[in-house]
Structure formats: structure tokens, C-alpha cells
């Protein structure tokens, strides 16, 4: 099929996700503001990409658009070179909290996708059997065997997120999208979840997009960290992380000098980008000139 002329170069066949000139404009009672502007990047299969940035930089908005839960105002999102149409089982998303189904047991929650037509259409009896075994496998990988028949309301936050992860992984999504999944957990649980997610994602060879405000988490988990800056939301910088492979990492790594340097540099980028507004205002007062004209908006 012929493509519009926004293509400046042919797609590399190995790209799992392509985001091109993505923009999202919100119109509120206080005027319109650009949550995202001209976001372009790509992700290769099996890559773990983390998004960090100051509040208001649009990282959650970006993830939701990729998931198909929101529509972009401009630009396009391609998964396996095909534009996305709304949400789907190819892009499973994990939320921070309140996403499990309280009326189902842990195992039934994990198996939830099997009740959906989208999954049954592609299945024969053999597939169905395979899926049943896979749900038990995921249950065990996530350390949930002992609570397989429990309901979510008796589980701790960490266990609930493990169920959410297993549920999302059952239908083997092309992309796993995680929106601050460990934000509601305490520090110790978070450390366990870090290693857990690293292992399961490496085992399943999943491509992951991970949004967090915790830079240490981002550096520990990701192959690349993308820093987004607010006002309007755009890519500030991309940081490749050169660490031992996922299955060889330990928590001690978080205290290694190279790790801490990287973490500090990224944090400084985030601070620099969020401080831009007050710096510009100070500059304006000093020189009497307005630099980097920007639409008026009410935003922190």
C-alpha cells in the first residue's frame, strides 16, 4: 500500500514499535496545551525501554496512546509496521492499582483473557489446552501457587501486581506496557518486583515500555532510558544503559559507581528540564526579552 509522505526513510524491518511525530493536544477551559509534541522513537523486539521525566511531561499520556486508550492529535504509532487501531491484546497494559477483578480468584484473573472472543477465535482444542497450562506456568513463575484460589482483596499490593503481570502476559502481547506499576508498593517489595520483572521479561522475550518517576528503577530495569521534558511534552534525551544482561543483575548493582553516575546524570537532566519555566521567567526579567515563545497555558 502507498504510504503518506511523512516517511523520510524506509522502516527497518526489525522495529517492533515505531512512534513518529506524535502529538497530543488537550483543550481545557483554561486554553489548550500540548501534553506531547513531535515525539519520535522506535523500539526493537525484546527491548526494555523506560520513560522518566518531571511531572507533566506526558509519559503516562504517551503510554496510553500507544496502548490505544487515547487518540493522538497528530503523528502515528506503528506496531510491527502496522498502525494501531484502538486497544488490543497485542499491547497489554499494567496499571498502578485497582485493575484486578475482585470476583475472580487469582487463577481466574490470570486466565481472564481466555474468556474473550478475540482469543477464542484463534484457538482450537490444542491451543486451549496450551493456554490452560500456560496460565498455571505463569502462576508458578510469579510465585502465586499458594494463593491460586484466593481473591484479590486478601492479597498484598505486591502480590496483586504479580497477578496483574501474569494476566497481561497470558496472551503473549507484542508489547508490555507498564504505567508506574510499582508506585504503590513499599521499597522492599519493589526490589523483589524489579528482579521478578527482569527475569520474566527476559524469559518470555517480551518488549516492554515502562513508565516511572523512579530513576533508579528505570536505570536498573531498562536497556534504554528516555527522558521526557514537559512544556510541551517532548523527548529530551535518550540514554543507553550498558549493564550486565538482565538475568545476571543483582541488587548490589544499584550501588555500583557506574550505576550511580548514570542515575545522577539522568536526574540532573530531569531537574534541568522541569526548572526551565522559572529559568526563562528569570531570564525575561533580566533582559526584557521573551525567549522561546510558547502558548499561554496553566500548567505546573
Amino acid at each position: 500500500m502507498n504510504q503518506p509522505s511523512t516517511l523520510s526513510k524506509p522502516l527497518a524491518p526489525s522495529e517492533k514499535l515505531t512512534v513518529r511525530a506524535l502529538g497530543k493536544r488537550f483543550t481545557t477551559s483554561m486554553g489548550c496545551f500540548d501534553a506531547l509534541a513531535d515525539i519520535s522513537f522506535c523500539v526493537i523486539p525484546g527491548e526494555f525501554v523506560a520513560f522518566v521525566g518531571a511531572s507533566g511531561c506526558g509519559k503516562s499520556t504517551l503510554l496510553r496512546i500507544i496502548a490505544g486508550l487515547d487518540h493522538p492529535s497528530s503523528g502515528e504509532v506503528l506496531v510491527d509496521q502496522r498502525p494501531i487501531i484502538g486497544p488490543g491484546r497485542d499491547r497489554a497494559m499494567i496499571f498502578q492499582d485497582y485493575s484486578l477483578y475482585p470476583w475472580l480468584t487469582v487463577l481466574d484473573n490470570i486466565r481472564f483473557s481466555r474468556r474473550l472472543a478475540a482469543n477464542r477465535r484463534n484457538q482450537n482444542a490444542e491451543d486451549a489446552q496450551g493456554a490452560a497450562e500456560r496460565s498455571v506456568l505463569l502462576l508458578e513463575l510469579m510465585g502465586l501457587e499458594r494463593v491460586r484460589n484466593a481473591h484479590p482483596h486478601v492479597l498484598s499490593g505486591g502480590m496483586r501486581q504479580r497477578v496483574a503481570i501474569a494476566r497481561a502476559l497470558l496472551c503473549k502481547p507484542e508489547l508490555l506496557l507498564m504505567d508506574e506499576p510499582f508506585g504503590a508498593l513499599d521499597a522492599q517489595t519493589r526490589e523483589v518486583m524489579h528482579d521478578l520483572i527482569l527475569h520474566i521479561v527476559a524469559l518470555e522475550k517480551r518488549t516492554v515500555l515502562f513508565v516511572t518517576h523512579d530513576v533508579e528503577e528505570a536505570v536498573y530495569l531498562a536497556d534504554r532510558v528516555i527522558v521526557l521534558a514537559p512544556g510541551p511534552g517532548r523527548i529530551d534525551s535518550i540514554w543507553p544503559i550498558h549493564l550486565p544482561p538482565a538475568l545476571e543483575r543483582t541488587q548490589d548493582l544499584k550501588r555500583a559507581p557506574e550505576f550511580l553516575t548514570m542515575e545522577r546524570e539522568i536526574l540532573e537532566r530531569i531537574r534541568a528540564t522541569s526548572g526551565l519555566q522559572s529559568d526563562l521567567r528569570a531570564l525575561q526579567r533580566l533582559t526584557g526579552q521573551v525567549q522561546f515563545e510558547r502558548p499561554d497555558k496553566a500548567q505546573s
Binding site: M93, P102, F112, A168
Partner: protein
């Protein structure tokens, strides 16, 4: 115990509830025994009890109760059968909400009692007229409350389903409805209670049987003790069904706490 939102041991709760009932009973008895109020205005508990017994034996109290239970249940079920799908759709789809909400918010304030002569004209003097009044009294509140139960389903539950491949129909039936079910069941329990308060209004419409009818007839003859029996029996039936429904709620939805009325 006395901290705001503090907890109370279950046995202590039951004890206080029974004691409270008992206290009112004693007060009632004392006021009438000491003849502080004319027995015409306030019959004593003994008189009420005697009237109750004679009504059961001689005056078919059980038949009256039966027909009233039938009317309330029928009106309530008719409301529920219509309100459940409508509430689900209103809670799920904004355009449907826009279509119905203004009308419903207006209609809920219409006094059911004012509809009595109109209902008489529309449905005649048989059972449908009583059921219609109960329906008018319950339907509009029910739809609004049910739609709010559906609207309160957490967004992540819905979005998680969509991102693992659920289509709209599946989100509606497998997530929204199941998730809102405990709250909707509670809404039905509460509105059933209100349905009972409309019984007397309903039996204003050319009734010749029923607890409401008996109360109205007793009003005409100033038989206050009979009025009291009728009111208390209605109250007890309401209390009984409420407790049964709460118990069923706990069995059906062990993961959800019931709303207090």
C-alpha cells in the same frame, strides 16, 4: 470505640441495637401506663399486641400481608427489570446518560401520591394500579442509583480488559456488570425498603385488601391501635427482608462490604 470511623465489636453492636429497641419499648409502655397521653393518640403496647392477635385470628392479617407483599414485590420487580439494563447503559455510555439523565432527575421528584387519580384513570382499579404506584415511587431513583454504581467501577478494571482484547460487549457484561453487581444488589435492597413506604399510597387506589388498605380504613374509624399494628407489621416485614438480603449479599459477594442503609 468513640474515635471517628472507629470499629465496634460485633456482639457489642448487636447488644446496643437490642437494648435500643428495648429502651423504646419500655418508654412506650411507661408513657401509656402512666397515662401521660390519651390512649386514642398513643395506644399502649399491650393494646397493640392484643389487636395484633385478634387481627391474625379473626381479621385475616396474614391475607392482608400476603396481598401487600405481592403488590410491593411485583412493583419492585417491574422497576428492577427495567432499571437494571437502563442503569447499566446509562452508566456505561455518556450519550445514553445525556439522553436520560435530565428526564430522570426531574421525574424522581414527582410525588407518587399525586399520581393516584391519574393511575386510576390509566390502569383502572385492579392490581395493576397498585403496582403502577409502587413502580412510580421506585423506578426513577433505582435507575439513577444503578447508573451511579456502574459509573463507579474503577477505570483500570475497564482499561485492563480492553488492553487484553475485550470488545465493548465483553467489557459491558464481563467487567462492568460483574464489578458493579455488589453495589447494584445493595441498591436494590435499599430501594425495596422505599417500595414498602409507598404501599399505603398504592393502596389508596381503590383497594379492598392489604395492610395499607387496613390502615386507611382504621384511620377513618380512629382505630389507632389497628393503625399501629399495620405500621409495625409493615416495618417488621421490611426489616426482615432487609436482613435476608444483607445475608444473601454476604454470601454472594464475600469480597465486597455492604453499604449501610
Amino acid at each position: 470505640m468513640w474515635t471517628i470511623r472507629g470499629t465496634l465489636d460485633r456482639r457489642l453492636y448487636v447488644l446496643i441495637a437490642i437494648a435500643s429497641f428495648g429502651l423504646w419499648l419500655v418508654l412506650w409502655w411507661a408513657v401509656t401506663a402512666l397515662e401521660l397521653i390519651d390512649p386514642l393518640f398513643l395506644p399502649g403496647p399491650g393494646a397493640v399486641l392484643r389487636r395484633f392477635v385478634s387481627w391474625v385470628r379473626v381479621g385475616d392479617l396474614l391475607d392482608d400481608a400476603e396481598i401487600s407483599i405481592f403488590r410491593v414485590t411485583a412493583g419492585f420487580l417491574l422497576s428492577a427489570v427495567m432499571a437494571l439494563p437502563l442503569g447499566l447503559l446509562i452508566g456505561a455510555y455518556r450519550p445514553v446518560r445525556a439522553l436520560f439523565e435530565p428526564l430522570l432527575e426531574f421525574a424522581r421528584y414527582l410525588p407518587a401520591v399525586a399520581f393516584v387519580p391519574v393511575v386510576l384513570l390509566w390502569t383502572g382499579i385492579g392490581e395493576p394500579s397498585k403496582i403502577a404506584v409502587i413502580w412510580i415511587g421506585t423506578f426513577f431513583q433505582m435507575v439513577i442509583m444503578l447508573s451511579e454504581d456502574v459509573a463507579r467501577v474503577p477505570m483500570p478494571q475497564i482499561e485492563a480488559a480492553r488492553t487484553i482484547g475485550a470488545n465493548d460487549r465483553e467489557v459491558l457484561l464481563l467487567v462492568l456488570m460483574r464489578s458493579a453487581m455488589p453495589a447494584m444488589f445493595d441498591t436494590l435492597r435499599i430501594t425495596l425498603g422505599w417500595a414498602w413506604t409507598y404501599l399505603v399510597v398504592a393502596e389508596l387506589v381503590a383497594a379492598n385488601s392489604g395492610l395499607g388498605y387496613a390502615i386507611l380504613k382504621a384511620q377513618r374509624f380512629l382505630q389507632t391501635d389497628r393503625i399501629f399494628v399495620g405500621i409495625i407489621v409493615i416495618g417488621l416485614i421490611g426489616l426482615g427482608t432487609d436482613q435476608i438480603l444483607r445475608w444473601i449479599h454476604r454470601r454472594l459477594f464475600p469480597w465486597a462490604g455492604a453499604r449501610s442503609p
